[in-house]
Every structure is written in structure tokens, then in C-alpha cells.
């Protein structure tokens, strides 16, 4: 076989990436056409290979934490698609009981520690998750995701310093999609290559082609091995591209259609499919069967979300304190 990875791996990658893609396309339709989803909505479309490669390079016990562009990683970690769609709808059956929305998916049972809305904050919190694993003496690792915009936040530098000082088992993953909202990376710093920021802390770093699940798997795999073997953190700059705007309300006047089209030609799902076909890893029937399964899961999630109840109004004062007897001020 010409490929480094097994047929099963490719089939897994393809199904996961399609599931994330189709989930988001469906959700965007429900947002734009039917108004059933509200709030800020940041799509992962074009970045799916990063979730796919990360999953095969890690174990279920490894923890993921990310920013507000969180749908793809939540689904990858196994947060149920039904609960994801219901969360977007704001329903009680959502993965955060309708209290988080698009930016705040959670699945602690799946070791998915959320969906965080303050740019860069989860880099530090993620290092704290890793601190706890090291403290307990496990060999679990944490994947802490952030965007290129977050690379300019102070928390990144403080966290890199601490993570190297204490050799925390954390992999910092910068999903560099070239735009901090509407500001291209060239306009945010003198240092365009984000992986070089690791040099200041003598942290190992690498750049990875984020449009290729194979590259992502290999790059993350090397960093995970280092972290598991008590070698400390790694910074991975994964070059990717978001086809969609920063959020659903972004008219994208800061980039050309040609630029977007060029990246679409490198679409990670199309590339993966081509590799699978060129190497006879799947028949058209098998691909079609996966597509149909994904469609069914996504369609079911919409039905589930639409039929689910809203959270009860009494939920306003629930999940604010663990303390069940907290005397809230109500007037």
C-alpha cells in the first residue's frame, strides 16, 4: 500500500471531516435561512483535517480545549451531534444545557473542556489542565488550541514560559488561518511565523500543513510523544484557512474571492478523498454510504434540536454555584 495510514484510518478521517462539515453547513442554513440559531457563530469549515489528525494522534483520555471556533473539535472528541445542534438552538438538551451556545460547547465526559470566548484565555487554562495531569502522575496530554490572533495576547507568553519551566504535558496548537477576525497576520506583528514565538522559551516547535490530515496526525503525534515521555510542551503552527468569514456576520471585505477560491482548491476533504481514490482505499459505494450516514446523523440532529424543550426559566439561577444552597439576590 502506498499510504502510510490504514484504510480504516482514512475512512475514519473522511467520516469525521464530513460530519463536521455537514453539521456546520446545516447549522449555518438554520441560522441564516430560518433564524433558529442566534449569537456569534464561528465556522470550522476548511479546518476539519486538524480535528481529524488530532484524534488519531491522541487517546480518548487526552484533553482538548479550544477557543470559540469549537464545533469541529467538540464533535471530533465525541460530544454527540444531537447535543451540539441542540446547543446551537439553545435547547435544554444541548451539551451545555443551552447555556453556552455556539462558542461554548462542552463535553467533560469526552475530555472536551470547551469552547472559550476570550481570545487566548484557554491557552493558560489548558496549561492548568496539563498541570493537573502531571501532578497526578498520569501520562495524559492536553491539546490547547488557539487562533493566530491569540498569538498576540500576553497570556500566550506567560503560559509558554510556565509550561516550559514546569515541562507541562501540553501541546499548543495554533490554527493559523491567516486572519485575526478581519486583520491579516502581516498587520498584527513583525513576526509572521508564529512557531518562532516558541524560540523565546526554548520550546520545541513545528509547522504543519493543516489541509492534510496525514500531516496533522504526524506533527501532533511527534508532540504528543514528547509530552507523554515527560519532554514538555510543543508549539505547533498549523497552517489552515477558513473559507467562511470570521463569524457568520462577517462580509469578508478584507480578502479577495480569488484568495478564497485558491484555498478551496486545497480543500482538506477533497484532498483526502483524492488520496483514498488514488490508492483504492474506498469504493464509491463506501464513500456514498458514509455520506448517507453523515446526512442522516445531521438531519436527525436538527429534528432532535427542534423537538427539544427550551431550558426551564428556573435554570437562570442554576449551575452558577455548585453550592445548592447559595442565597441569590433576587431583587
Amino acid at each position: 500500500m502506498a499510504t502510510k495510514f490504514s484504510r480504516e484510518t482514512y475512512l475514519y478521517w473522511y467520516e469525521l471531516m464530513q460530519l463536521i462539515r455537514q453539521f456546520e453547513l446545516m447549522a449555518e442554513e438554520k441560522y441564516k435561512m430560518e433564524g433558529k440559531i442566534r449569537g456569534f457563530f464561528h465556522a470550522y469549515v476548511g479546518q476539519e483535517a486538524i480535528a481529524a489528525g488530532a484524534m488519531t494522534a491522541t487517546r480518548p483520555e487526552d484533553l482538548f480545549i479550544t477557543a470559540y471556533r469549537d464545533h469541529g473539535l467538540a464533535i471530533a472528541k465525541g460530544v454527540s451531534v444531537n447535543s451540539c445542534m441542540a446547543e446551537l438552538y439553545g435547547k435544554a438538551t444541548g451539551n451545555a444545557k443551552g447555556k453556552g451556545g455556539s462558542m461554548h460547547f462542552f463535553g467533560k465526559d469526552c475530555n472536551f473542556y470547551g469552547g472559550h470566548g476570550i481570545v487566548g484565555a484557554q491557552i493558560g487554562t489548558g496549561a492548568g489542565l496539563a498541570f493537573a495531569e502531571q501532578y497526578r502522575g498520569t501520562d495524559n496530554v492536553v491539546l490547547a488550541y488557539f487562533g493566530d490572533g491569540a498569538a498576540r495576547q500576553g497570556i500566550l507568553h506567560e503560559t509558554f514560559n510556565l509550561a516550559m519551566l514546569w515541562k507541562l504535558p501540553v501541546i499548543f496548537i495554533c490554527e493559523n488561518n491567516n486572519y485575526a477576525m478581519g486583520t491579516s497576520i502581516e498587520r498584527t506583528s513583525n513576526v509572521i511565523d508564529i512557531y518562532k514565538l516558541a524560540d523565546a522559551y526554548e520550546m520545541p516547535a513545528d509547522t504543519i500543513d493543516g489541509m492534510s490530515a496525514e500531516s496533522v496526525h504526524e506533527g501532533i503525534g511527534r508532540a504528543v510523544k514528547r509530552a507523554r515521555e515527560k519532554g514538555g510542551p510543543t508549539l505547533l503552527e498549523i497552517k489552515t484557512y477558513r473559507y467562511k468569514g470570521h463569524s457568520i456576520s462577517d462580509p469578508q471585505k478584507y480578502r479577495t474571492k480569488d484568495e478564497v477560491d485558491e484555498y478551496k482548491s486545497k480543500d482538506p476533504i477533497h484532498q483526502l478523498l483524492k488520496t483514498m481514490r488514488d490508492n483504492n482505499l474506498a469504493t464509491d459505494e463506501e464513500i456514498k454510504a458514509i455520506d448517507q450516514r453523515v446526512d442522516a446523523i445531521v438531519t436527525e440532529s436538527v429534528k432532535f434540536a427542534e423537538e427539544s424543550p427550551w431550558p426551564d426559566d428556573s435554570e437562570v439561577l442554576k449551575d452558577v454555584y455548585v453550592d445548592q444552597n447559595y442565597p441569590f439576590i433576587t431583587d
Binding site: 451545555a96 447555556k99 467533560k108 487554562t125 492548568g128 510556565l162 455548585v322 447559595y326
Partner: protein
């Protein structure tokens, strides 16, 4: 058997007892380990617990606070020391946007059992950036609790409670100028529940409510007033959030007069909240407007007379009590 120990020793006992009891508890902060604590609260703890559990950090408030928050979310019970709460402002994002909100944002999945502690408020001529009292600011935030003890006995029981039993983030406010205060503390173990005020002095004519080191002003004023035949009841809030307003109300039902002494800035302060609550719940019991003394509505300046002029003191408290008593002089 009670013995007289310093406030800092009471805190150290609380930390050490809880660390001996539970391996998940650790202490992290600037100078806590090898230097034995900027104010010697953690003296000797590195020797007992080792560097895994008594952890020096670089001057990186946002970074080490984030590590503490993440560790708490992932099953540990961190105690994070700030050299002063003034520096914790750098870490406010992690406290306000992550620690306080994650339980709610995650629909109840991700809790954050963590204690943040350190000295708070003014401590003499330290200038504006080392002198802010933050109780009211943190008390505004749902999802966290705010503790502000006035003596070593309360501090030990409250800190032990916070570390062992509180599953929510606790802000624990100490004071540079109280660390040396001596206090009777029993040798046997005890805990003090959060959210309970304590009547430190029983009286009948007026209620004075205070907390933290302003309790000294409140008790000092009560002693002066007694010489003039005015019996003041003094309530120590101990916990700011949640606020034990019922204890205040019960006292006001008896005295019909309320004065609040605090070191907060006046706008939306602890006294503002108490005043709202007592006028609503106890309107018919009040024989005079509720009055207060706060810190001046300004950054705290350096000159000694300006420090004194900006902070509550016994003479002004006595004068204010007499005003609500409608006393002649």
C-alpha cells in the same frame, strides 16, 4: 486549649492542615516556597510539603492564575496566593471570565474549586497602586464567594472551610497590617461556615457593621461610645458574598439604627448593598437614615495625613453614630 498566635500563623495552620489531609491541595504563588512567603504566611511549608506542592511562580499573575484555574477544573484544589490583590487585577480575566463563569457556561459540567488569597486594602503609605480594597468589586461577580476576615481565629476557620468544603471559587482577603495581629486560636481543629456574619459585640442603641481591618475602627468606636453611655452592637460580616443580611436585620430590629464602616470606594460598595437590603427588609424598624463611612472616592495618596484623611477612623465613626442617635454633641 487555646493559645495566642499571629494571624499569619493561623493562616499557615489552615493551609498546612488541609494540605496534610488532602493531596489535591497545593499552594502556588510568588515567593511562597524558597522565600517562605512575602509576608511569611507559608514559612516552613516548602520544607514540609516539598516543591511539588508549594510552588514558586515567576511574576506572571495572569499565567499562574490560569494554571490554577485549569488545575481546579481538572480535579485539583489549588490555593493561589497573590502578593497583593492589587496584582490580581492582571489575572482578573481568568477569575471573572473563566473561573466564575465556567460552571454556568458548561451547563454544570466544569466546576472550579480554587481559593485565591492574599493581602488586600491599604497598608500605610504604599501609594495608590498597592492600596485598593477589592471586596466590593469581586462581590459583584456571580459564581464566586468573597471572604474578608478580621482576625486570626476567623481566618483559620474560614480558610479551612474554603479549601476543604467549597466547590466554588473563593476570594480570600487578608491584610499586610493584620498578619502580625495576635489572637486566641484553639489547638483543636475547627471550621467556620462561609456566609455567616458574627456579632463581635452585643449592644442595644446602634448597629455598626464592618469587616476586615475596619473592624478595629468599628470596635474602637464602640468602646469610645460606651464611655458616653451609647451601647453599640458590632457585626463582623466575615463573608461579603454571600452577604448575611439577616444577622444585620435582626440587630437593626433591636437598635433601629445602622452605621456601616468599610474601606471600599463608595460607589456600588458593600455598604451600598447593605443599605438597599436593610431599607427594603427593615424599613419600619429604622429610626434614622442608614449612614456609612467608606474610603475617600479617590486613589489613596502617599502623604501620611492624606492616608489618614482618606480612610475611616474612630473619631469620624463616633461622630457619625452620634448623628444617627440624634445626640446633642
Amino acid at each position: 486549649m487555646a493559645r495566642s498566635i499571629a494571624f499569619r500563623e493561623a493562616l499557615r495552620e489552615a493551609l498546612s492542615e488541609e494540605m496534610r489531609r488532602d493531596d489535591r491541595v497545593f499552594l502556588m504563588g510568588e515567593e511562597v516556597a524558597e522565600y517562605n512567603g512575602a509576608y511569611k504566611v507559608s514559612q516552613g511549608m516548602l520544607a514540609e510539603f516539598g516543591p511539588k506542592r508549594v510552588i514558586d511562580t515567576p511574576i506572571s499573575e495572569l499565567g499562574f492564575t490560569a494554571v490554577g484555574v485549569g488545575a481546579a477544573q481538572n480535579g485539583l484544589r489549588p490555593v493561589v496566593e497573590f502578593m497583593t490583590w492589587n496584582f490580581a487585577v492582571l489575572a482578573l480575566d481568568q477569575i471573572l471570565n473563566t473561573a466564575s463563569k465556567m460552571l454556568a457556561m458548561s451547563g454544570g459540567q466544569v466546576s472550579c474549586p480554587i481559593v485565591f488569597r492574599g493581602p488586600n486594602g491599604s497598608a500605610g503609605q504604599l501609594g495608590a497602586q498597592h492600596s485598593t480594597a477589592f471586596e466590593a468589586l469581586y462581590a459583584n461577580i456571580p459564581g464566586i464567594k468573597v471572604v474578608s476576615p478580621s482576625n486570626g481565629y476567623d481566618a483559620k476557620g474560614l480558610l479551612k472551610q474554603a479549601i476543604r468544603y467549597e466547590e466554588d471559587p473563593v476570594m480570600f482577603m487578608e491584610s499586610e497590617v493584620m498578619y502580625g495581629d495576635k489572637c486566641e486560636v484553639p489547638e483543636s481543629e475547627y471550621y467556620i461556615e462561609l456566609g455567616k456574619a458574627d456579632v463581635k459585640r452585643i449592644g442595644r442603641d446602634v448597629t455598626i457593621v464592618s469587616f476586615h481591618k475596619m473592624m478595629k475602627v468599628a470596635l474602637g468606636a464602640a468602646a469610645e461610645l460606651e464611655k458616653e453611655g451609647i451601647s453599640a452592637e458590632v457585626i463582623d460580616l466575615r463573608t461579603i458574598r454571600p452577604l448575611d443580611w439577616m444577622t444585620i436585620l435582626e440587630s437593626v430590629k433591636k437598635t433601629n439604627r445602622l452605621v456601616i464602616v468599610e474601606e471600599q470606594w463608595p460607589f456600588a460598595s458593600v455598604s451600598s448593598e447593605i443599605t438597599y437590603r436593610i431599607q427594603k427588609e427593615g424599613f419600619d424598624y429604622l429610626d434614622a437614615p442608614i449612614r456609612r463611612i467608606t474610603a475617600a472616592d479617590a486613589p489613596l495618596h502617599y502623604a501620611p495625613n492624606l492616608v489618614n484623611a482618606a480612610l475611616p477612623d474612630v473619631p469620624r465613626t463616633v461622630k457619625l453614630v452620634k448623628e444617627v442617635m440624634y445626640a446633642r454633641k
